[in-house]
Symmetry: C2
Amino acid sequence: MTNVLPTGATIGILGGGQLGRMLSVAASRLGFKTCIFEPNGDCPASHVANYHFKASYDDEAALKSFAAAVDVVTYEFENVPTSALDLIESIVPIRPNRRTLAVSQDRMSEKAFLSELGLMVAPYGAVEDAESLAAAIAQVGTPAILKTRRFGYDGKGQSRLMSPNDATQALADMAGADAVLEGFVDFSHEISVIAARGQAGDISCYDPGENVHLNGILHTTTVPARLTPAQRTDAVLIAAKILNALDYVGVMGVELFVTKEGLIVNEIAPRVHNSGHWTQNGCTIDQFEQHIRAVVGWPLGDGTRHSNVEMLNLIGDDVDRIADFAKGGSAGIHLYGKADVKAGRKMGHINTITGAA
Amino acid sequence: MTNVLPTGATIGILGGGQLGRMLSVAASRLGFKTCIFEPNGDCPASHVANYHFKASYDDEAALKSFAAAVDVVTYEFENVPTSALDLIESIVPIRPNRRTLAVSQDRMSEKAFLSELGLMVAPYGAVEDAESLAAAIAQVGTPAILKTRRFGYDGKGQSRLMSPNDATQALADMAGADAVLEGFVDFSHEISVIAARGQAGDISCYDPGENVHLNGILHTTTVPARLTPAQRTDAVLIAAKILNALDYVGVMGVELFVTKEGLIVNEIAPRVHNSGHWTQNGCTIDQFEQHIRAVVGWPLGDGTRHSNVEMLNLIGDDVDRIADFAKGGSAGIHLYGKADVKAGRKMGHINTITGAA
């Protein structure tokens, strides 16, 4: 059953970074107001949202006021504290749903969920201490990557083991946090599917993009990705299986490794995704509008792609190159309005059109 | 000489309607902040701008605070009171420039300016009273349209004369305002050129769109317009001549009648224009971003069009059809967030992609 919000309704967004900023803009295009909940002032989303609750996630009064001020809540990151979600959900619906958050907040839960669906994932093992790490190495082999189970992003909370000798250092890097050891996958390239599911159960996927990472951070996404027609079909079927199993509502980023044995799920992100930014200049309805459409109960856009795109992330002082990109005169420029340039910080992205679709 | 604003600078916008709203969104995309000056609360632009000065145009203290808070000022409508502009310009630059506003605020000045440039305009005569109206009718003929010299838009402040017998009623319709009588032009269709000029004098024009009006309000713009290659060239040359003569900086809408004798200038609008809304879904860099680029001193976008578009205005309760448009799944939907639906009020627009360019 769909629950359609009337135009003019207010969408609450947890998190005020660039994803919240671009979600706010998309919501405004469809006539909705937005209200950001974000502890930091002068955050990217606050520049374009109607309202900004500047409060911490343990401020119950602020959370209650926020929930009462909006008609639905969505989020731009998956690590919202459970207590905050409980309080919000007692007042207003949260989309995508809580189960998805529970699954994706913990790398072990996520891998177990995907495996139970019959999807391929990298070999993995739970790690709490030296003993379980040794067991995981025996099972998974090296090279491998040790990752914290929670709160990791953009390569943070990760440590590489080239051989069992690196175990002690890797465990120390986790600083006592529960972790998961992931075996290396022999993949030719990584792709991602930006998939959406509406409240009526309708599913729409954008064409997969091909991702290149640099220093653990997404560097470029190129559309179309190098895929056979069969791989393309598989990618969509995998994404649809995940969304349906979670009774998902909204946009999800599904990262897949392309291997000789088939597509292996790397990870899922229950939100709009950096590897879907190309849709802003490649499609009439971009991933941000698609997410808003799902959250407010509209029918999904059909995902039609009119152009081939290469998306380039501007990390840290890459943003100094903006004058050069502007001179070109044909690239889609997207800056996040962050006041301070820091190494490793996502400052913006460039969508270069490489031809008609 | 160009005066490039650094990213993060604040752009002041006079007027908080839908044009200010879409300018604000474009500015945010390039990393700029926006500050709206608009007497009405809950106006469309206030939903997406960083700041909103809710004050009247004769509130000197508010105008001064506004001007001091921003790095440059632009506007979404041409009828800003002169006293407000004088005060603002004593503090911060206004782009497009004052001369353009002076010319375009008064239909007589505009027609004199265009005629002096050697461009064709409809036959016209100044009207202050019954005597000058009679003289204008003798010169221009009927049918003709009597229009107030100032503050007219969307067919407001206009009265049609089918014969000299309508003179008394038409003059009464002006309610004492100075007016201009315009002779009818025998045109096949109306087009508009959305033209931009940067601070370095660079000019970029979007492909002309073909306009259809309904009840004096723009109904549809279709791109490409029906034009011969020679007419296309003429349209661009006419627009460039106007922009250069005014040392213009920003986007201008130039409405042209297509006639057997050539292109006749209907009117110019020194701002982003309703007939350029198709660029949001037809081009990588739309008219709103193009205007912001000019105002902040960036190089212009090249105006490349990737798709053919039909733009449909949603007037009054047309907006009730949104559910139908949403169902289609491929149209670009743009709503302005206006709380009250009123007859004749622009509530939003739909950009339907009709094919690759």
